[in-house]
Every structure is written in structure tokens, then in C-alpha cells.
Amino acid sequence: MFNFIKFEWQRRWKFFLSGIVVFILTNIDLYSRMLAKKPPNFISVLLISILFALCASLVLDQMGRVYRTLFTDEGYLELTLPLSGYKLLGAKFLAVVLECIAVVLIVGMVLYVDLLFTANTYPEIFHLPPLSWDDVLILVQIIMFILCGYFTLLLMVYLSFVLAKSIFASFKYGKLIAVLCFLLIGKILGVITDLVLINSNFSFGAPGVLVPIGDWAKIFVIIGLLFISTAYLLDRKVNL
């Protein structure tokens, strides 16, 4: 499984490196312009556009990873490797999780450096508020909550692709049915999230707790169920 993560990363490290470089350049450009009180110029717009395009292509790439396995010739390589569907999907999913964590860490570090620099340059007008342990916990939970939402969406997309290539493979409009399945799964998860499982009353009052542990458990169960059902179909029901 880790070999497959390595394989996935070998393909994308140049893309990530270029993303980091563009992000740092954009940050330096915008930050220096802000300090010099200059408006963004053509270079700034170009850098922001490239960064936006890279982010969009990363999201599309992450969504299309299972599509490539199932609907392109690469599937003949990936699905004949001695990996179960669970390990194959696990490796792809873990690679995405690591990529997202890496993006959050890099963005977080660069923004923190910006804040530190501002605090050091203009101590009279800006100072970093002391960050308590509870604040850090809240921040981590907000990021985790957003990431979990993204991972759920990704798994829904993956499940739809696998459904199109397994249960609905013999149907003339299998892909269309899979799109309908995606909408249906989304609707069901929405209903479950809103009404039955997760109460969205974030407890801002409790120190260091934004989402109660019980709700985290429910979120992870939903992600787990989506993962297991997708991996089962990938393991047993896919017919290339």
C-alpha cells in the first residue's frame, strides 16, 4: 500500500513543488505590495490566476484518481497489481489526505510567518495575540471539519465512479445513473447530517471544543462507510 502511495507521489511531486513556489511568490508579492501600499499589478494577477488554476487542477486531479483507474488504460496496470480494492483505494485516499494536510501546513506556516513579520515590523500597530492551547484546538477542529467535508465529497465521487463501472456497467446510461446516484447519496448524507446524526450546534462555549467527540465519531463513521462500500465494489465487482 505504501508503495502505491509512493507511486502516486512520484507522479505529482513536481506539480506540488510548482504549487508551493507559486504560492510563496504570490504571498511575497502581495505582502510586499501591501506594506508598500501599492496596488496589485499584472504580475500579481498572473500569480493569483496560476495559483487558482493549480488549486482547481489539484481538486480535479484528486477527484479523478479513481476515474483514471476505472475508465482509462492505466486501470489495466493498477487493477492487476497484487493489491486488494481496499488497499488500492486506501492508498489513493491516504495520498489525498496527506496532500491536504501538507497544503494546510504549508499555507498555515506561510501565513504565520507573515503575521510574525508584520508584528516585528509594526509593533506599534499590530501584535500577535497570545495563542492559548484552547485556541489551537479550535483552529485544528475547524480545519479538520472542513477537510472531513472535503473527504466525504471525494468518497462520494469515488463511489459514483465505482458504481458506474460495477453495478451499472451493463446499463446503456451507466455513467448517467452513477451521477444520479451521486446526487442521491449527497441527499441522503445531507438528511442524515442535518436531522439524525450530527447536530450542527457548535459548542463555542466549551473551552477547546468546537465539535463534540460524539459528532466526530459520527463523521468518521460516515467516511468509513463510504470508504468500505467503495472499496468493496472496487475489490469484488469491477469488470474492466
Binding site: D73, E74, L77, P82, K87, D235
Partner: protein
């Protein structure tokens, strides 16, 4: 079922599959393909594969996108036949290959023959492989049209396998 086991990671370790299409990712180089096979297949002989890559005139740093159909065919056969698998499934291994490449591919297949393995070749180019076949199976619309031992069929029909092939598919 393969070797009395349900299809899964264990059976995939037993089978070496060569598809007709290019299944190798376009971003990879020849060396990375060898590395990939080495990482995933316990029975992959990396040293033998490197020797064969040289033998068929490929270089480790060549990108998949830069390879011609013939070079790609040779690389695919190097990867598939450098495994010590129990079953080799070769789907049209001679497709798009020039006569020199076909000769090299055939040589590699012959070198890989072992007592404990089976090589299943699906091909329309009969005359290239006729000399190495033990058994043949002619399929028509997913049904077996004719099957048997090569020597027996030749003896019974007084024809070469290629002629039998033409006879079987005459009306198709």
C-alpha cells in the same frame, strides 16, 4: 478462480498479464516502470529485466511518451516476462511490432518457458508462434470453435496451424 483461489492479490501474484493497449502511465520512464514492478511483484527479476531492456535497445531514462509502438511493445514484454509467474497472459504481444522486434519478443518468450508455468498467448499472427505452441484454442464469438494439441491437429487435418486458423475463420 485462478489456481483454485478466488481472484485477489494472491492470484495476481501468480499471473503476469500483458495487455494489448498501453497500460503504462505516460509520465513514467523505463527505469521507473522496472522499479514499479520490482516494488509490487515479489517474483520480478530486476536484474534480468535490466539486461533485457539493454538487449531490446531501450534506455532507462526514456520516457513512455517518447517510445514508439515497437519500443513500447518490447518494454511491455520485458516487464511481463521478467516475472517468475505461474501463468503468463499475453494479449496480442506482436501487435504493431516490426519483424526484428517480433523476433526479440519471441526469443524472450522462449527464454521464459519453465516446467512450472503456463503461457497463454492470444494472437492473430499465427505463423510467428506456430513453432512454439503446444495447444491451440480457436474462439469465435466467445465460443470455442476448435481446440486441441498442435501436433494432433496438424496430423489429423494435414495442415499447418495457420491453415487451420484460416479454415476455422473462413466464414467469419
Amino acid at each position: 478462480m485462478v489456481a483454485e483461489r478466488k481472484i485477489g492479490p494472491a492470484t495476481k501474484q501468480l499471473v503476469s498479464y500483458l495487455p494489448t493497449i498501453n497500460h503504462l502511465p505516460k509520465w513514467m520512464t523505463v527505469d521507473k516502470c522496472l522499479q514499479l514492478y520490482k516494488n509490487f511483484y515479489q517474483d520480478f527479476d530486476a536484474q534480468l529485466a535490466e539486461e533485457r531492456v539493454d538487449l531490446v535497445g531501450l534506455k532507462g531514462n526514456q520516457k513512455i511518451t517518447s517510445l514508439s509502438t515497437g519500443m513500447l511493445g518490447r518494454l511491455k514484454i520485458v516487464l511481463a516476462m521478467s516475472r517468475k509467474a505461474k501463468l503468463y497472459l499475453l494479449d496480442e504481444p506482436f501487435n504493431g511490432l516490426d519483424p526484428n522486434s517480433r523476433e526479440k519478443v519471441l526469443k524472450m518468450i522462449l527464454e521464459s518457458i519453465r516446467e512450472d508455468c503456463t503461457i497463454l498467448i492470444s494472437t492473430h499472427i499465427i505463423h510467428e508462434v506456430e513453432s512454439i505452441l503446444d495447444e491451440v484454442l480457436f474462439l469465435n464469438n466467445g465460443q470455442i470453435a476448435l481446440k486441441g494439441n498442435v501436433d494432433d491437429l496438424r496430423f489429423q487435418k494435414k495442415m499447418s496451424i495457420e491453415e487451420i486458423y484460416k479454415e476455422v475463420y473462413e466464414n467469419v
